[in-house]
Symmetry: C2
Subunit: 650 residues, 2 copies
């Protein structure tokens, strides 16, 4: 269906169920809105001229106005073609509006259980096998394990190793299950070489319940996903901040802390607590008991991995930057403090180098770069950013220390992309009045990574900040002011927030974003130069990172984070680390691919790479010091908008 916004004449495609305010923001149509979409500020009044919306009424709208078609945009749900008129408080013309418009992010179709099934690769490492046996007698009083082996062989299973715990539980399991038990088997990576590990026995038939948890242990956030290994269904996903943040926001400060007496164990326990917290949230939200989990997979960068395992990470930080190991054996989850059953092993993703860790290996595996002909640039946007270029024949990688800005860290009112986080934004260049959309359409609490990019891009486009990230504090709007941390823009007044304080974006916040995006840009540009390629040679760019899913391509190129290329060539995969961790839980063949990826990757040390500092310094601008040549479209759009605003102001 089509929605036309008047008086600008902007027409956009919409889906039934879209909210009118969200749609306007995506289309670059500004509607004042300061409560995040909760419907309480009553500012986003629009006039529905043709068609009907669902909802949109409120005590803020008088019966007479309602009769005239006045609605709150944030409460109006689209169900048919509409013509909507926006009350214009300032005088922007169509040209300016069109320039501000940007489409939604393009989400990659992620590989899932269905695709794996089609490819015959939905083969979880953990399977449950139901067996029965005749009860023992004086004539046949073989031991309980011998009885199980006979039954397993009859079920077509061969070549076993028994975990101690399975032996321990077997006597009661056989008898409580009246000589029927469910055996949980962990397959070897290579059936030709390894053996099947019997890791658990349960009385009776529990084959319907076989879960795995995939864990992404990020520097800033921890994510976990509960997976049904029978169906491949993702039962739920939960995330939270990594409590290690209290020992430092970046890996370096945590490595330093871990080097102090007792420090390593403290930092380790913080990670363990964070993971356990998320696992319990997952269990509670999805109403699944963690006792039904058979397997855990965990991906994290090299430092996160070593800190979780309690392996002293200090040599990661010291030249020549040596990690302890690429591969770790499967570890017992419980021994490392995870509140999962005794029998659960954790498969920890291997690392390539000190700053290219298991999270990147998981992401690359998850998107299938190692099986694909297409020349791909993989960008993992995160506190520790990593870039990989290559295809099924070769891969090169490099690391970038971006800092936590992309995940809402190090930002005065930064937060994760949870309820109340400002995630979309536009601003009226004349009044300085914002339109805010928050996650869950709740009162604003703070700003998340994708919101930060949206805000900075909009402020840049409207000239409220300049190319260096400086605020136009002489603007007539009192939202632009000098606060405790210097110049700032007030996103929401205290009364409109959930926290009772003004929520503002400060100049240091913008600086943090600038450094983060410059680090990422310099990383992929230097890596490409290192292998003799340019942006134009790439067949696709895959963006990973917890917040990658919600950033808007146009805004990301406007600020110079992403390179300018056809939008069709970009794909967002979201949390690549979590994706890989999930796929390994679902597919033993993919688990087998992991080692090959590690062996295939060549690591570039950017700190000693020629050109890195030039790329970094040039990118400390919005979008870049060489914007005219490197970001020609963004440059043109910024110029065009500037001119339009100037014209309208006359």
């Amino acid at each position: 269906m089509i929605v036309r916004f008047e008086p600008f004449g902007v027409e956009v495609e919409a889906k039934a169920g879209d909210r009118l305010l969200d749609l306007a923001l995506e289309a670059g149509v500004h509607i004042n809105a300061s409560c995040g979409g909760e419907g309480v500020c009553g500012k986003c009044r629009v006039h529905i001229e043709q068609g009907q919306v669902q909802g949109g009424l409120s005590e803020k709208i008088s019966a007479a106005d309602a009769e005239q078609g006045v609605r709150l945009a944030c409460q109006s749900v689209i169900q048919e073609d509409l013509v909507v008129r926006i009350p214009v408080d300032s005088a922007m013309d169509k040209a300016g509006l069109a320039a501000l418009a940007s489409g939604p992010a393009k989400i990659a179709k992620l590989i899932g259980a269905e695709e794996l099934k089609e490819q015959g690769r939905f083969q979880p490492a953990l399977v449950k096998v139901l067996v029965s046996a005749p009860p023992p007698s004086l004539e046949d009083n073989r031991n309980d394990v011998a009885r199980l082996l006979t039954a397993l062989k009859a079920a077509g299973e061969h070549s076993f190793v028994f975990d101690f715990e399975a032996i321990r539980d077997l006597p009661d399991a056989w008898r409580d299950g009246d000589w029927t038990v469910t055996t949980t088997i962990m397959r070897p990576v290579d059936p030709a070489k390894g053996r099947n590990h019997v890791i658990r026995v349960e009385p009776g038939d529990t084959t319907a319940r076989n879960l795995a948890v995939a864990i992404d242990l990020g520097t800033t956030t921890v994510w976990a996903q509960l997976i049904d290994l029978g169906s491949g269904e993702i039962i739920g996903t939960e995330g939270d901040f990594n409590e290690q943040i209290s020992y430092g926001e970046d890996v370096i400060s945590r490595i330093v802390y871990a080097g102090k007496p007792g420090g390593l164990e403290k930092v380790r326990q913080a990670a363990v607590r964070s993971i356990n917290k998320v696992l319990h949230q997952l269990s509670k939200k999805t109403q699944n008991d963690l006792s039904e989990v058979s397997l855990a997979t965990l991906a994290g960068n090299t430092t996160m991995t070593q800190l979780f395992l309690g392996v002293q990470p200090k040599y990661i930080r010291l030249e020549p930057y040596v990690p302890s190991a690429a591969y770790y054996p499967p570890i017992k989850a419980k021994e490392f403090g995870l509140e999962l059953p005794d029998h659960v092993s954790t498969l920890v993703f291997p690392s390539v180098a000190s700053y290219v860790g298991g999270d990147v290996v998981a992401g690359v595996m998850g998107v299938g770069m190692h099986r694909d002909e297409a020349l791909t640039l993989f960008i993992d946007l995160g506190t520790n950013g990593e870039v990989v270029v290559g295809n099924k024949d070769w891969m090169a990688c490099a690391a970038a220390s971006a800092g936590p800005a992309f995940e809402g860290g190090g930002i005065k009112f930064g937060m994760r992309a949870s309820k109340g986080a400002i995630e979309n934004f536009s601003v009226d260049p004349f009044t300085g009045e914002p339109a805010l959309v928050t996650v869950g359409h709740a009162k604003p609490k703070g700003i998340c990574g994708s919101g930060l990019i949206a805000v900075v891009a909009a402020l840049l486009m409207t000239g409220l900040i300049d190319e260096r990230g400086h605020f136009q504090v002489d603007h007539p709007s009192d939202r632009l002011r000098v606060g405790d941390d210097g110049p700032e823009y007030v996103l929401a007044w205290a009364k409109d927030t959930a926290i009772g304080r003004d929520i503002a974006l400060t100049e240091p916040d913008v600086d943090n974003l600038l450094r983060a995006k410059a680090a990422m840009y310099a990383a992929y540009m230097t890596l490409l130069e290192g292998v003799g390629l340019s942006i134009q040679d790439l067949e696709r760019v895959i963006l990973a990172g917890g917040f990658g899913q919600s950033i808007n391509l146009e805004r990301a190129t406007i600020i110079g984070l992403l390179p300018e290329m056809e939008p069709e060539r970009f794909m967002f995969v979201g949390n690549g680390s979590l994706l890989g961790a999930r796929l390994v839980a679902m597919s033993n063949p993919l688990r087998g691919d992991v080692g090959g990826i590690v062996e295939q990757m060549t690591n570039f040390e950017l700190s000693v790479a020629p050109g890195y500092m030039d790329n970094y310094t040039g990118s400390q601008f919005l979008p870049h010091t060489e914007a005219k040549t490197l970001f020609p479209e963004a440059y043109a759009k910024l110029e065009e908008t500037k001119a339009a605003i100037k014209a309208a102001a006359k």
Copy 2:
């Protein structure tokens, strides 16, 4: 050298350093001695008529007597030929004495490191490999494990799995050792199938220190041995009671206790405490730190094994007597509570059946039955006795519940064969006065298993107890009396003991020994009948059991514990379980043999075997109801002695 005892004219071979009292007792020459050989009672006065002894003087001997050649037999050390006159308080003639005489036990030459080396089988599963590497640089900053792998390959080692702990310790080990580390590797049983496990890394060169502990977890006693895996030297051996005794003296009562809520863990912890106590004794006595231990091996009967591992043993006790498993995977010593370093794995011996456990498998392996043509009867004398018959081609086994008497358990003044335990004994049939020798020649504290057999055999020979084990309480000696537990014989008066109470042997004690020996006898006889063999078919009898080394063949046949056959065909191996545990630590090829032994053994359930009850009931006599046909020599000797005593008494 030769020692002649007058007035009896008994001549015996002696070695320099033998004590005169011990030699007399072995020769069947009675000398009154009540303090255990400590030299304080002054009763064992003898007259040295020819030659000189070392020592033997005491304040109990006047200067004038000393001048005349009077010495204390217990303090006199032989150094040359002697003629010794015993003051005769009663009137036994030579015939009686000769009948009482019995030679020392024949000790088997145990297989040890030297034999293994000759056979090329001294190949410990645990080896230490010293490697060095160039330090990393920016040009070569591979991870620490990759660097170690290269170094190991250069040292001729291949195919690895790293234990997590080794990876964890490697970063510091490389650097603390200045790029030289000692790697502890655990070899697979089968090098063609398994991989080398790197279980530990240490900075610098520690290859000179590589220890193992072999543990025998017995129902009554726990033994441990410290072994140098470099040289094969046995550094030390220590033993102590199993604290589980407080939960019942036999396996059945412990199984029952373990079935109560929380019971299993309590019983388990008692075993763990007992082992740890012995390990610490071993460490202290030998001045070796347990941190240098790389491997532990553990053998115990099926119940002991399950209790130690915390595997519910209740189905062992209930018909049809099913154990949980034959084989257990190597377990981490520390996880099971043993106070050994993190990296130490414990190899637990597999069981054949509920009552034929890892201790028997260890013993059979230790004596090499599975590699020998000779048809052998292996008898493990212990609280849980087991018998095995066969050779390298076949083996059959059975279990006997003997009770703890052989290990000093269930006996009023019973104790382990430690300092102060009465281990040798003779008695004057007329006065009832004893000769006691204790372990360590200390004041008597109690009586150990071999002492019990010596005492009962001597009392039987002298007619102080009859064939049913009843005491001759109308004997003129006040040592034969009726005490709190019925008829008893006072071995030592309170004043002569280390415990300040009369130490006596009671009729219930004799009953316990009778039941124990009857259970063993019935077990091997029924097993032999079951496979269609008789005693005469056997090429050798191997006696195992902690106390087996010190029992005297003749006494053991007099009481009907062991069958009558040529003494040359008997071999004593002592603690077979500990022997096997030690050999497995020293020899990976022997470790590989263990599985074959388990597969080869056929278990006989004696409880349902025809003939068992007849054999048991007949053996509840001393030596047997059918003594004349089954124990003709013992029968003749008893008759002869009876007649001699009768003659002398006239």
